[in-house]
């Protein structure tokens, strides 16, 4: 247990080295020109299969299940179908109508499952497929639950004794969220207890997912927190918790802001409008910040690695030289990403706590 620091850093290094074959595959596959932008965007975005690596020209991927709803009917099939043929045809059992699914390579629905109508137009069905990001999300959620389960067990077993191992790592972070985030942002202890479970969940969710995103090997390395849908959902949770649990004081501050001249409220309710818009912009900014930071980090690391292959296309020696340079830079950026992983989790949690603090402010007679 004492050597865990070395184990972590070593595995981190190994992971970095493993990134290389991933890109080699990208080169093999296309044979033509290595397109760094495409590779990076392919990583950043979602897909219906999880490409693990390419071995001697054979792609090793996990084909994930597609679940789509069309006109109240559920269709499930493997994404392998799209690897073998361009179209996947299925028959609607009730009216024996043939449905054609495909994943277009361009257009509005690029990379998404669509239904091709008889006239050639594309229609996006209601799609809740288990994509790569969804699977990664499930894995990380399972990991979070397992970790918390272990920690909870440790607390039950050790009682009031000093924490040990994983428990002490979690305790440090939990106590940090409680004392330095929740208690500083929320001024009454009762509200702290009320909001703390959410703050802890958000903190660990973002932090663990950020870290897992930095590990480039299966089953990690998906860009979970760098996906706008994830950050949007997190922000929406914060938004609903803030506004649904807000007290009278909070709503008074929004609709009848104290200490503001009446003409800003009366014929034209300028202040209430600004405050109401503020309610929506706050979580919006939360979502954008997390998304942009994590995505940018992934793009920068991938950019450095890609530059090796770009140079290697021109000359092999140059590629070797570039790889040393790029690896050093990529390691450097990865280290910064470790920091960012923590900072973004901290910022999201802190800002959520601040909004909760505003929504649960006790009335002060001054």
């Amino acid at each position: 247990m004492r050597n865990w620091k070395y184990i972590v850093s070593l595995s981190f290094l190994i992971c970095l080295i493993f990134t290389l074959p991933n890109f080699a595959k990208a080169e093999n596959e296309q044979k033509e020109k290595f397109n760094a932008g495409e590779v990076i965007i392919e990583h950043i975005l979602d897909s219906y299969e999880w490409h693990i690596f390419t071995w001697k020209g054979h792609e090793v991927s996990i084909y994930l299940p597609c679940i789509v709803f069309n006109e109240g009917k559920c269709y499930t099939f493997s994404s392998r179908n799209f690897r073998e043929n361009e179209f996947y045809k299925t028959v609607n059992k009730t009216n024996s109508e043939e449905l054609v699914f495909t994943i277009p390579h361009e257009g509005d629905y690029k990379g998404k499952i669509v239904i091709v109508n008889a006239d050639g137009t594309q229609k996006r069905p209601f799609d809740i497929s288990i994509t790569k990001n969804v699977l990664a999300l499930f894995i990380s959620c399972a990991l979070i639950i397992i970790l918390f389960y272990l920690v909870t067990k440790a607390y039950q077993k050790r009682g009031e004794k000093a924490p040990k191992g994983l428990q002490s790592l979690f305790e440090m972070l939990i106590v940090y969220v409680r004392d330095d985030i929740a208690r500083k942002a929320i001024n009454n202890e009762k509200s702290v207890d009320k909001y703390l479970p959410y703050l802890i969940t958000v903190f660990f969710f973002i932090f663990i997912n950020n870290l897992l995103g930095l590990i480039p090997i299966f089953p990690f390395g998906a860009n979970i927190t760098g996906n706008i849908a994830v950050t949007a959902v997190l922000a929406l949770f914060t938004f609903f918790i803030t506004n649904l649990l807000g007290n009278k004081e909070y709503y008074k501050d929004i609709f009848n802001t104290p200490g503001v001249p009446w003409f800003l409220k009366f014929p034209l309710p300028l202040m209430p409008i600004i405050e109401t818009v503020g309610c929506f912009t706050k979580p919006f900014v939360l979502a954008i910040r997390l998304f942009a930071n994590i995505t940018a980090g992934h793009i920068v690391v991938l950019g450095f690695i890609s530059s090796i292959f770009i140079v290697a296309q021109i000359s092999v020696a140059g590629g070797v030289g570039m790889s040393v340079f790029s690896l050093i830079l990529a390691i450097f950026v990865d280290c910064i990403e470790l920091l960012v992983a923590y900072i973004q989790a901290y910022v999201f949690t802190l800002l959520s706590a601040l909004y909760f603090g505003m929504a649960s402010k006790e009335h002060h007679k001054s």
């Binding site: 975005l45 209601f126 909870t152 009031e160 706008i228 849908a229 959902v233």
Partner: protein, 171 residues
Amino acid sequence: MELISPDFGYIFWMTLAFAIVFFFIAKFAFPVIGKALKNREQKITEALEQAERTHEEMKNLQAKNEELLKKAKEEREEMLNEAKISSDQIIEEAKEKAKQEANRIMESAKESIGNEYKAAMTDIKNQIANISIKVAEKILEKELSKDEAQMEYIDKIIKETEEKMGDEKVR
């Protein structure tokens, strides 16, 4: 711009997954952890207070001990002093007694010497008287024959007796 347009399916799964994680932490993990943390904090606070109290008590005890020690020292000093005084007294008394005894012995010795002396004197006187009587007897035996010789003889005897007495006295 797929990058910034959230996919509905993903939102759906994310909401579900996050809700499950949130539910698990809020319902099962956090109550246990929070309670354990609070209990531990309380225990630590209590232990610290207890330590503080014990420290205070120790301090008091130490002060008490010191006081006791001081008292004991004082007592010892006092006792020593007393003992010294009493021993001095005893010695003094003994000396006094010895002196008295010596005096008494001397006195009695003197007395007995005096008595002896008196007895001796009486004895001498008696002897003198006896000798005188004997002398007188002898004189009386001789006197009737010659006057002059008689007187001579008396003188001689007296002289002899005186010498004898003188010798005795010297002795």
